[in-house]
Amino acid sequence: MKIAIIQFPGSNCDRDAYYALAGIFNQPTRLFWHKRGSLSGAEAVVIPGGFSYGDYLRTGAIARFSPVMPAVVEFANNGGPVIGICNGFQILCEAGLLPGALVRNEGLEFICDTTTLDVVDSMDYFNQQSLGETLDIPIAHGEGNYRIDNEGLAELQANNQILFRYRNNPNGSVDDIAGIRNIDGNVFGMMPHPERAVEEIHPSRDGIGIIKAFLKSQMARQQKA
């Protein structure tokens, strides 16, 4: 799959995502500076972690207005696969491609740690059968506290949109939510960093499963379509 990794000013996990996708998964991957207006035929989009626009105002609030975003929104609305990691998740929520919002961690402090995630049976490939019951994945964020109103939460639950829950909630997220998808199953967002868990030197290699699930589920969708 041709993958575009979007670089915003202040993105800082863009290269990490690149190493994981190009290096470990051998996918044709390219870094896309946010000022580009089109996605040049990319088949999947990654919005990486970091501090786009310094996290000023609200995380993701300014990035979501940057020139490339209309193309990303259009791509997503046409069923194109999009995954947002950490700051990327925040941007997708701000852009309205995913429901809810991310606010300051309950403890107010930035947390860098490796967390255990419970895998939720959400859709093809994103389920316990494919991924196993739990995954150890690093987190590193100050604003990963997922918020959504009760109705919204009920909808997420009813539509199996929750991908992962924290075993020990580090940030106060409602319903221990660590990652979600949209109803259609083509837009994904998660605070934990799968790209930080793909090599032997990393805290685990459980990120491989997540990235694989993303790629496979989307290839399967496209074949169907």
């Binding site: 190493y19 501090f51 740690d113 990393h202 805290p203």
Partner: protein, 773 residues
């Protein structure tokens, strides 16, 4: 010879006579002023006086320490070393050392002590930003941060406030720029109350042919100002850092600079992109302390040429700034770039891409002067080299403080040994001492993993380790780094304390499987004009220098921070040492914690009975006295050789240096794995035991705990004998939750619940920090 006098300043308030009061306010002595008159062949105007005052401040000129620094070895003794120093200490913003295959690393440590005392969050954040710029200025991509922190006791609300702010500030800046913070050291001691130390280190990687110099050359080449606009921030910060913190510094407060890590990140990326274009950049220098002044005159001096700038072209955040303010401003996130003439557009396009402004503010000119204009009129004209190279050199008086005889004469025999209950209790108390306790509260606020190169996180190994991607597992390189300094040792004996700091850092590297490459240091001391303070500086540097020489570890850079004192207290001498090493194969990377039970535990080194200046004396007896432990360098060299061979043979499953808190603290740290706590069963029948407290909690140097395969323990001990190293099998680790120690003459075995010990160690700092919630 005189330098032509500038025109009257457009701001009339700057056209005043230079009075003795003004000279004093600028921290200059009358001798220094005469020297300035001599250099110019006339009176300076106020702008020029300001420029001299910052360039000749301690912070920029090292006037009180430069002579001492000459003792440091600045290159490898071994001419054929595969790790030559490519850029030496003092030459540029940071030193550079070869790591093979045309790659090099560049690293430096920098203090931001005074700004952090005044405003902990911004002070620490801008400290991180400053050291980051020092590294990428060299053409290197920053790969890691570490930091050395010293605070007052956490029982003081003010110390907690400062630590909270400092840690937030470091995490705020470092996390945002996307460079992992992988370690450091933290100590708490009342001497740092009101005098916190914040030393930040950055390390970057670059190809040999990417090294950039901070020199101006090529008459006619344009001088660019890039990054944030200039405001009235941090006016006089460099001279501020060269003063004791007095009551007045509360008034100095508007001087606090504010960092913008977002801009810092953009500036880094833009500069790296620009430096990647061959021949585009002629010279580059960050604007740190003394901002525009320092960068202009240093680039001119290094290039042995003149530089002319026009202040009206300098981007300004505030209106009505005069030449004095602009030249002395310490606004953050600014760089000075000398570009190749004719390629201006290329440069401007790069900054445009990153939404940054590149302003052409001047050019390289004939002659040797730094010429500053405003509105077309010259407002300052000074021979650049005189500012940088002719700064006065002081020879302060040194006098050994009186307390030393008494302290060094302290006799351990005067202290009764502990009974069984006392011994049991002491371990819990030591583990809960914040200087020893788990520092997770601090480092979990730092992104340790961004860039996905981190191999050994804080607490996992005696040194932090990162991988440098070189294009494949067989080409990748592994860099280790360790920070150290036990200031109490330095207080009791600055020479021995200095030796110990370097030796310990090198030993820590050895435990991680690394061999040392080079050292950087931050000399944090009190007022050099006080003879006893200067003595401490002088003796510490001697200890550091000799030890570096002994291990052939060149010093590639560093920083000096003096005047760390206030009316109530002054810091113990704190020469923070950071040694960087390389691990020749990934297989050699060694942890300090064990990952399974049933390991044999082997103690390398003697069992002397030293307790002077130990954490044990401090925590259990509330005593600050005694000779620090002896440091035998020959012995350590053998120990390191032995360890290296054993690690390369694959025999060592974990290795941990015995430091603050002694044997049992080190043992516990070894058993406290990230998500598991092991137990151990020790039998000390064979040890020559003099006193229990010294055996368990003494801090004799050059000792290492090893975890080895139980079947191989005998081989390890046997091999050690051939290196003349004392080795004892102490017992075995296990999967139970008990630490059980049998020893002769104890009425019954010592036994601790490991979970209790773990809780004491884990919860100490978070509990204290919760007081204010």
């Amino acid at each position: 010879m005189s330098t032509e006098a500038p025109a009257p300043n457009p701001d009339p308030t700057l056209n005043v006579d230079i009075t003795p009061e003004l000279i004093e306010q600028h921290g200059l002595t009358s001798d220094e002023y005469e020297q300035i008159q001599g250099i110019l062949g006339r009176e300076p105007n106020l702008t020029e006086l300001g420029i001299f005052s910052v360039m000749w401040s301690e912070h920029c000129s090292y006037k009180n320490s430069r002579k001492l620094l000459k003792q440091f070895p600045i290159q490898k003794f071994d001419e054929d070393s595969r790790n030559k120093v490519l850029v030496k200490a003092g030459e540029e913003n940071a030193g550079v050392i070869d790591i093979g295959d045309d790659w090099a690393i560049c690293f430096k440590i920098e203090s931001h002590n005074h700004p952090s005392a005044v405003e902990p969050f911004e002070g620490a954040a801008t400290g991180v930003g400053g050291i980051l710029r020092d590294i990428f200025t060299m053409g290197a991509r920053p790969m890691l941060f570490t930091n050395s922190l010293r605070f007052g006791s956490l029982d003081s609300a003010d110390s907690r406030r400062i630590m909270r702010g400092v840690v937030h500030g470091i995490s705020h800046y470092g996390n945002c720029v996307g460079v992992p913070n992988i370690g450091g050291d933290v100590y708490f001691d009342p001497c740092y109350e009101g005098n916190p130390l914040v030393n930040a280190l950055c390390l970057g990687v670059l190809k040999h042919d990417q090294i950039k110099r901070g020199a101006a050359s090529g008459v006619g080449n344009p001088v660019y100002y890039v990054g944030a606009a200039t405001g009235r921030d941090g006016l006089g910060g460099a001279s501020f850092a060269s003063k004791e913190l007095s009551e007045e510094s509360a008034e100095d407060r508007p001087a606090v600079q504010k960092g913008d890590p977002f801009m810092g990140k953009l500036l880094m990326e833009a500069c790296l992109e620009m430096m990647g274009q061959e021949g585009l950049v002629v010279g580059i220098q960050d604007m740190g302390a003394a901002g525009l002044t320092c960068s202009t005159c240093e680039t001119a001096a290094r290039g042995n040429t003149g530089v002319e700038i026009e202040l009206d072209l300098v981007p300004q955040r505030e209106t009505g700034m005069n030449s004095y303010e602009i030249m002395l401003s310490e606004s953050q996130e600014r760089m000075l770039v000398i570009a190749q003439k004719g390629r201006e557009e290329e440069l401007e396009q790069i900054f445009d891409k990153w939404d940054l402004h590149a302003a052409k503010i001047g050019k390289v000119v004939k002659g040797k002067n730094m010429v500053v204009k405003q509105g077309g009129e010259v407002v300052a004209r000074i021979p650049a080299k005189k500012l940088t190279d002719d700064a006065p050199l002081n020879d302060p008086e040194a006098e050994r403080p009186d307390y030393m005889d008494e302290v060094q004469g302290w006799n351990v025999e005067d202290l009764p040994d502990l009974d069984r209950d006392g011994l049991m209790d002491a371990l819990v108390k030591l583990l809960a001492d914040p200087s020893i306790a788990n520092k997770n509260w601090i480092h979990r606020q730092y992104d340790q993993m961004v860039m996905t190169n981190t191999v050994m996180h804080p607490g996992q190994s005696d040194a932090s380790v990162i991988r440098l991607r070189m294009g494949g597992p067989d080409k990748d390189k592994y860099i280790a780094i360790s920070n150290d300094c036990n200031s109490r040792y330095c207080w009791a004996d600055p020479y021995e304390g200095g030796k110990i700091a370097v030796a310990e850092a090198i030993r820590n590297l050895a435990c991680a499987g690394a061999r040392p490459l080079a050292m950087t240091n931050n000399l944090n001391f009190g007022n050099p004009n006080k003879p006893d303070s200067y003595y401490m500086l002088q003796e510490s540097v001697r200890g550091l220098a000799e030890t570096c020489e002994f291990f052939d570890v060149p010093v590639v850079g560093g920083n000096v921070s003096l005047y760390n004192e206030n009316q109530e207290s002054k810091i113990d001498p704190t020469p923070v040492v950071s040694v960087v090493g390389i691990i020749d194969s990934r297989q050699f990377i060694t942890t300090s914690t064990i990952s399974k039970g049933s390991e044999a535990l082997v103690l390398l080194g003697d069992v002397p009975n030293e307790l002077g200046c130990s954490a044990f004396l401090r925590v259990i007896h509330d005593l600050k006295t005694g000779k620090p432990p002896r440091m035998d360098l020959e012995n350590q060299a053998a120990l390191m050789d032995f360890l290296q061979v054993q690690i390369q043979k694959g025999r060592i499953h974990a290795a941990h240096d015995i430091a603050e808190g002694g044997l049992l603290v080190a043992l516990c740290e070894m058993l406290f794995a990230r998500d598991h706590t092991f137990g151990a069963d020790l039998n000390l029948e064979d040890l020559p035991i003099d006193r229990w407290d010294a055996l368990f909690y003494g801090e004799s140097q050059g000792r290492i705990l090893l975890a080895v395969d139980a079947n191989r323990a005998d081989h390890v001990v046997h091999d050690a004998e051939r290196y003349d190293i004392h080795a004892d099998i102490l017992g075995e680790a296990n999967d139970d939750h008990i630490l059980h120690i049998e020893a002769p003459n104890l009425e019954k075995p010592l036994e601790w619940d490991m979970e209790e010990l773990r809780t004491a160690w884990d919860s100490s700092i978070p509990e204290k920090m919760k007081i204010d919630d």
